[in-house]
């Protein structure tokens, strides 16, 4: 049974009618047309659907819209822009990280929250923070280069 929800995404508020059990992912993709969180597994195992809820990375594929409450959602589109990029976005371009790029939300959104809270992290800390995310093209070494570069930029 459809219910009404108010959803704040990247600073804009939207009114949504959806079943309360609908995962946030489908609301963002299909109702709001925000394509960048992606369906990878539907099981919170890969990261492709990652968004921030009040600044913390969550798997939107297993988060029902009814659980979002008044939380503020940020997607990759809200992380930065070409004019005002997040250091991770700059670093990703410099290091030419992605191949197919389908996994990118998980890495960027998780790393963004991690670097915000952890200045000058060690490589081991970065690996630990990103562990569990999936990349199938094998860009892991490039991802680490980019996150380290962004960490340096963020000082």
């Amino acid at each position: 049974m459809s219910e009404k929800f108010s959803l704040t995404v990247n600073g804009s508020t939207h009114s949504i009618a959806a079943d309360p059990d609908t995962p946030l992912l489908y609301v963002l993709r299909d109702d709001l047309g925000l394509n960048n969180p992606r369906f990878g597994c539907g099981l919170a195992q890969c990261g492709a659907c990652t968004v921030h809820l009040d600044g913390q990375p969550i798997s939107s594929c297993v988060t029902p819209i009814s659980a979002v409450g008044n939380g503020k959602i940020t997607t990759l589109a809200g992380l930065g822009t070409p004019d005002n990029p997040h250091p991770l976005q700059t670093a990703y371009i410099e290091e030419q990280v992605p191949q197919c790029g389908y996994c990118i939300n998980g890495w960027l959104m998780t790393a963004a929250a991690f670097l915000r809270d952890n200045k000058k992290p060690t490589e081991a800390q970065i690996k630990d923070a990103l562990s569990g995310l999936k990349c199938r093209c094998g860009t892991h070494v490039a991802i680490l280069r980019a996150v380290k570069r962004a960490a340096t930029m963020m000082g």
């Binding site: 959806a18 597994c41 070409p82 197919c100 070494v141 490039a142 991802i143």
Partner: protein, 761 residues
């Protein structure tokens, strides 16, 4: 919104906005007064037919002087389009930024085979280079007529034909032909797909004159990805579209015998589509389609697929009747040499089934308007997908337009080919455009698999310690139960589940190297598929099809022979390898890695944590790769960490060194994952590895510290593949390093902690 420059790759959003009708700015009308006969003959206002023998099928000069290069392959995320633009810009003498590459749309490109066998540059680029060279020749001829100057006195810079340094007379490409089309026939070899070649009369440039080829130009499509402005085929939306999901049986081979559609009546728009073994649902909203697929009540037939227990898989291969056998190479008298041997070294190796396990499960969108069909697909061979969709819908191929838009990863014949066909049947059945995406368990559980295999190698050694004979044989499931493209319904789940007559492909391969043993025999044998129709264990191409299997065995074995003969593994290889490029690549890898000659295993094997180094070398003709793996092994956990890889790579002429490094790096990491972790799990009912927990891949915590790459550039040798060659030696390099560290030879992939611990105990 800030515009992001996507010059070299036609914006995916532009494709989507145009609703499938790709609008390219060629053919725009512009005033043009043909001054002479050449223009009338070589240029036309109406686009010639999109056939492989027309120059206009590959190259167009647009009204603004930019160049469109129509490339009948695709870029799966490795920056291939950048390299193609470099090759085209080089031959045409236009700036790199002036070239945009249009890829993988059957409405605008001819069938160059899609992504296939690392031939993107080797075959696809060769054709675009030839076409661009011919286009330049034609343009100079036109300029000669217009300027009234002999062609041989003309030069081209930045798309302007001129009379030399003073530029007394000049005319731009745009002014010559911009917005019109070449009307020039090429010498097409009559083939489509990878071998398509249609050169003109022009000879491509001498490599010593290159200014753009060989430069480390960056991909421009990374920025749209990181700013969330790049769409995938999962993002295509068509007016009136409904969402589809497929339903697969819990027991492989079972088919629905009853479907109770009333069980999903409460879900808005939910509808079941059932035809023999084919069963799917659609609904207006995506989440509703997922719920409908879960809630639909289905009664399945009894099925007992002839799957062995997984532990007995390789026994099954050993005992199964040989379906097809082929001796690939036979030199000297192998049997006699073995009879006269002083000693014989032999070993057997095993490789599991592996899954593409693409980052996301496949997606396709199909819109049927009367007899005109548009398909959006992530399949890496969209021209063949078009043919398959046309066949399953009973339409001629020209009624279907397949538009490739990047899918969630593609490493061969993955689930994308099946998704396109399933979506076509759903769309036809419900009379609406359908977007179908598989679920995770279907992406990993039901994609075509890389084949499981066993490999036997033996070497005859004489009294002086010389290898006098070598025999290598594989026995395996065939490389292609279903073909590497989906142009025929029998090669897809949709076809197989709707009763199409089966036709299982066959074949395998032997090692590619240049070991010059006097007596040598290599052969392969295949066995029949376990389940012949709709099997989750059907095989097809997975990146570097069967290369990893074969060379894990062959290059592990070379190490075993070297160790038995108490020879350094690199020195042993250099003693027998005969090809000069092979020798160079072996030496380059050893030198870069600081390889110190000694016998494996290392002398002191004690300690819970041990380290070792391993070497392997291969050809993937005509590319050559050699690599050194340095690993740490924890005896207590069985965990292998590949700390460092050093790779020497020779693929002839290098188009873009930075792009090439990224390709090699990704390939090596993916191959580390396949070596350490990947194994399709199954029981006697079905495949049971269906997500990232049950089909683990390499985690970033296990990423190597570094991957050093040495590129050997040979500008005078035509460029060859790089996407697959670095994959095939990785497993052997790791196996050889584990042996060096521990003294234990592991002859079965994957080297998961459990398997390694068992082998070490």
């Amino acid at each position: 919104m800030t515009t992001i420059e996507t010059r070299n790759r036609l914006s995916r959003r532009a494709l989507l906005r145009s609703g499938g009708a790709l609008v390219v700015s060629i053919g725009a009308s512009m005033p043009f007064d043909p001054a002479g006969a050449a223009q009338d003959r070589l240029v036309t206002g109406a686009k010639p037919a999109l056939t492989p023998d027309q120059l206009s099928s590959y190259i167009a000069v647009n009204a603004d002087g930019t160049v469109s290069a129509f490339y009948g392959k695709i870029d799966g995320g490795q920056g291939l389009h950048v390299a193609i633009a470099q090759m085209v810009a080089e031959e045409l003498d236009v700036p790199f930024k002036a070239v945009q590459v249009v890829m993988g749309d059957t409405g605008t490109t001819v069938n160059q085979g899609g992504a296939s066998g690392a031939t993107g540059i080797q075959e696809g680029g060769k054709q675009l280079r030839a076409a661009a060279a011919e286009a330049r020749r034609i343009l100079v001829e036109l300029a000669a007529e217009q300027l009234n100057v002999p062609a041989e006195q003309l030069a081209v810079d930045g798309g302007v034909v001129h009379t030399g340094t003073e530029m007394a007379k000049s005319v731009s490409y745009a002014d010559l032909v911009g917005g019109r089309y070449f009307n020039v026939a090429l010498a097409w070899n009559g083939k489509i797909g990878n071998p398509l070649y249609a050169p003109g009369k022009a000879k491509p440039k001498d490599p010593k004159d290159y200014k753009i080829v060989g430069q480390p130009i960056k991909r421009e499509d990374v920025a749209p990805l990181v700013f969330a402005r790049q769409d995938f085929c999962t993002d295509v939306k068509v007016p009136g579209m409904v969402h589809g999901r497929m339903i697969r049986p819990a027991i492989a081979g079972a088919v629905p015998v009853a479907v109770d559609e009333s069980s999903i009546k409460h879900i808005p728009g939910a509808q079941a589509v059932w035809n023999q073994g084919f069963l799917g649902v659609v609904a207006d909203k995506e989440w509703d389609a997922i719920k409908a697929a879960r809630e639909l009540k289905v009664t399945w037939s009894n099925a007992a697929p002839p799957f062995p227990e997984q532990a007995l898989l390789h026994d099954h291969i050993r005992k199964a009747p040989v379906r097809k056998r082929e001796v690939a190479e036979q030199t000297g008298n192998v049997d006699e040499a073995f009879k006269g041997a002083d000693r014989i070294i032999e070993a057997e190796y095993e490789w599991p089934f592996q899954s593409h396990a693409s980052m996301g499960p496949a997606c396709a969108v199909v819109d049927i308007k009367g007899e005109q069909v548009t398909l959006w697909t992530g399949s890496q061979k969209p021209h063949f997908t078009r043919d398959g969709v046309a066949a399953i819908l009973g339409l001629p191929p020209e009624k279907v337009r397949a538009i490739w838009i990047p899918g969630p990863g593609s490493y061969g014949r993955n689930d994308a080919g099946d998704a396109a066909m399933d979506a076509a049947l759903l769309a036809k059945a419900v009379g609406k455009p359908v977007r179908l995406q598989y679920m995770r368990d279907q992406g990993t559980g039901w994609d075509p698999k890389g084949p499981a295999s066993i490999h036997r190698a033996r070497a005859a050694i004489d009294a002086a310690g010389k290898v006098i004979a070598y025999e290598f044989g594989s026995k395996a499931f065939p490389r292609v139960d279903v073909n590497s493209n989906e142009s025929k319904p029998h090669d897809t789940l949709a076809g197989q589940l709707t009763g199409v007559a089966l036709h299982s492909g066959d074949g395998f391969a032997v090692p590619e190297d240049s070991y010059g043993f006097a007596n040598k025999r290599t052969y392969w044998e295949t066995v029949a598929p376990l389940l012949d129709r709709g099997s989750p264990l059907r095989t097809s191409h997975l990146r570097d099809p069967i290369g990893p299997q074969v060379h894990f065995a062959s290059e592990s074995f070379m190490d075993e022979v070297a160790a038995a003969l108490k020879l350094d593994p690199v020195a042993f290889r250099l003693q027998y390898v005969t090809d000069a490029r092979d020798i160079a690549v072996i030496k380059a890898a050893a030198e870069k890695a600081g390889w110190q000659p000694r016998v494996s295993p290392r002398r002191d094997l004690s300690g819970l944590k041990v380290s070792g180094r391993g070497f392997a070398y291969v050809q993937r003709h005509p590319t050559r790769v050699a690599m050194v793996a340095e690993v740490d092994v924890d005896r207590s956990t069985g965990k292998v960490w590949v700390r460092k890889f050093t790779v020497a790579h020779d693929c002839g002429q290098i188009i873009n060194p930075d792009g090439l490094r990224q390709v090699i790096e990704g390939g090596v990491v993916q191959a580390i994952s396949r070596t350490l972790w990947e194994e399709v799990r199954f029981n006697t009912k079905n495949v049971t590895s269906v997500d990232w927990e049950s089909y683990p891949i390499l985690d970033i915590a296990e990423a190597p510290e570094s991957i050093d790459v040495v590129l050997i550039d040979r500008p005078e040798i035509p460029p060859s593949g790089a996407g697959e060659p670095p994959i095939r030696p990785v497993a052997a390099a790791i196996a050889n390093a584990v042996f060096d560290a521990t003294g234990v030879r592991i002859r079965r992939v994957p080297f998961s902690p459990d398997n390694v611990k068992a082998a070490l105990s």
